[in-house]
């Protein structure tokens, strides 16, 4: 691994992080070190149970590492695979849930949640409830809520895995647009190598709780999945994945 862990520009740095869950003999994470630059789009791929979701949970503080060091920015937000929207709140209220408290308490703040609803093109659905939305729309609300927290690092845990290809493609475009507009550091977990290569600056391949290899993706955006360079990169990662 050739990561510069002392890079002061790093958005998130993990040094020798290990984690073993109670009642499981195998470590979920074993001595993981990784530096993610501020404003970078990093994608973590790997088989189920390789530790990629645990890594996200440790960065957000949902789990504590047994060993190692973590340097994370003050504001970290997350988009969940399930959407994790609160069913008793409207779309607008769900997005408002993510706003920092000082924003919510400001008397002259207006309606800051509207900006994030516009960003994910859901302004017309503000008064709907999550059950009235499609899977893709729910993920958009989850994304708007996460952005409303004004994060320095945005974490996404397989956010598009349950969506159809067309919706996934639309959300990929929107995510890239938002990433470029906001400059937020994005760390996304995916089980699809093609998805990772089409979005990320770097793809981290994890195996058995360790980082197997990091692949820089130097292709220009928008990336064409039919392109030769794209195909070669996917094949390279896939070969390592199945090795």
């Amino acid at each position: 691994m050739s990561d510069n862990l002392n890079d002061e520009e790093s958005g998130v740095v993990l040094i020798g992080v290990s984690k073993t869950y109670v009642n499981t003999p195998k470590a979920a994470l074993h001595d993981v070190s990784l530096a993610i630059k501020s404003g970078e789009f990093l994608c973590i791929v790997g088989a189920s149970g390789c530790g990629k979701s645990t890594l996200l949970k440790i960065i957000t503080g949902l789990e504590r590492a047994d060993k190692g060091e973590l340097h994370a920015p003050a504001h970290v937000s997350m988009v969940f695979q399930s959407g994790a929207l609160l069913p008793w709140l409207t779309v607008e209220e769900n997005v408002k849930f993510g706003l920092p408290s000082q924003e919510k308490n400001k008397k002259d703040a207006g309606q800051p949640e509207k900006k994030y609803l516009d960003m994910v093109e859901l302004s017309d659905f503000a008064q709907k409830y999550p059950r009235e939305l499609s899977g893709g729309q729910r993920q958009r609300v989850g994304l708007a809520r996460a952005l409303a927290a004004e994060p320095q690092a945005l974490l996404l845990d397989e956010p598009f895995s349950a969506l159809d290809p067309k919706t996934t493609d639309d959300l990929h475009k929107d995510l890239l647009k938002i990433w470029k507009e906001t400059g937020v550091t994005v760390i996304m977990v995916s089980h699809l190598i093609e998805e990772a290569v089409s979005l990320a600056d770097r793809v981290v391949l994890m195996k058995d709780g360790r980082i197997e290899e990091i692949f820089p993706i130097a292709l220009p955006y928008p990336r064409r999945e039919s392109g030769i360079a794209f195909h070669e990169l996917v094949q390279k990662i896939r070969a390592k994945f199945f090795q």
Partner: protein
């Protein structure tokens, strides 16, 4: 692990107001009508001054008896609600707490509460709280239905939903109010429905105190639809018994239609998919 730069984006976050609170709507839906009814019935009862007798029965008398019984059930329900949340939270606090308290509560739930009724009556009569004995027995009967429903509800809250609270800095009482309470509303409604059903069953026994007191007469009984039913039955007054039972059934049906069915429908919006 070094925590020097471990910040999870929850700084400067405080408890915030909760606009268009669904919880608030629920309180309005349940508590306001219940308390209004309770106050009206209470005032009627105070000024009417009936004793437990079935000699001169009118429809108004039956309605008043029903109202007083409903007031007892409501008071017991409110107490059961207040106590059930901390008990359910205690059980689900941690796996260790669950291992200790769940079997304990299960045993307490299984103990036939009426077996202790004579002792409970003596205790409350000692303090001059005759109606307190009935309310207490109703409270105990209702409590476990709500506690176990809430425990079920708290257990099935998805991990991601709990994580949302952490990620967006909702902690402590705000977490309870904004995530846990709304998440268990469907379970609270079904638990309350079952609690009231049990309460209606028990009321027949709970108002007839003289059966549990040596040497006591019917004058020791509490005024209410339960005692009216028992006295009419004992005196062979079939028409009065029939009128009382019909009044009770209609009241339960109306309560079911106008309160429980609507609450069940309302609770749908709180369910996770």
């Amino acid at each position: 692990m070094s925590q020097s730069t471990r910040h999870i984006g929850t700084h400067h976050r405080h408890m915030v107001s909760y606009p268009r609170s669904s919880g608030q709507s629920l309180y309005t839906l349940i508590l306001v009508p219940l308390f209004t009814l309770a106050i009206v019935v209470f005032l009627v009862r105070i000024f009417a001054g009936h004793t437990v007798t079935t000699e001169h029965i009118t429809f108004g008398f039956l309605l008043e008896a029903l109202g007083v019984t409903f007031l007892r059930l409501t008071i017991a329900y409110v107490f059961a609600l207040i106590f059930s949340f901390p008990l359910a939270l205690l059980v689900t606090w941690s796996p260790s707490a669950e291992r200790i308290f769940l079997p304990l509560f299960d045993i307490m739930q299984s103990v036939p509460v009426l077996a202790f009724f004579p002792v409970i009556i003596v205790f409350f009569i000692h303090w001059g709280l005759w109606s307190g004995a009935a309310v207490f027995i109703l409270f105990i009967t209702m409590l476990w239905n709500i506690v176990f429903s809430l425990v079920g509800g708290l257990r099935v809250i998805p991990q991601d939903i709990k994580a949302v609270g952490h990620i967006f800095g909702v902690r402590g009482f705000a977490y309870l109010r904004r995530i846990l309470l709304p998440a268990v509303v469907p379970y609270l409604v079904t638990g309350s429905l079952l609690a009231f059903a049990q309460g209606w069953n028990i009321i027949i026994v709970a108002e007839v105190l003289h059966t549990y007191l040596p040497g006591a007469t019917e004058s020791s009984d509490l005024f209410g639809i339960g005692s009216v039913l028992v006295h009419a039955s004992a005196a062979g007054q079939e028409q009065i018994f029939l009128a009382a039972i019909i009044t009770l059934v209609i009241a339960i049906a109306l309560l079911n239609f106008f309160v429980w069915q609507r609450l069940l429908q309302y609770a749908e919006r709180f369910k996770f998919e």
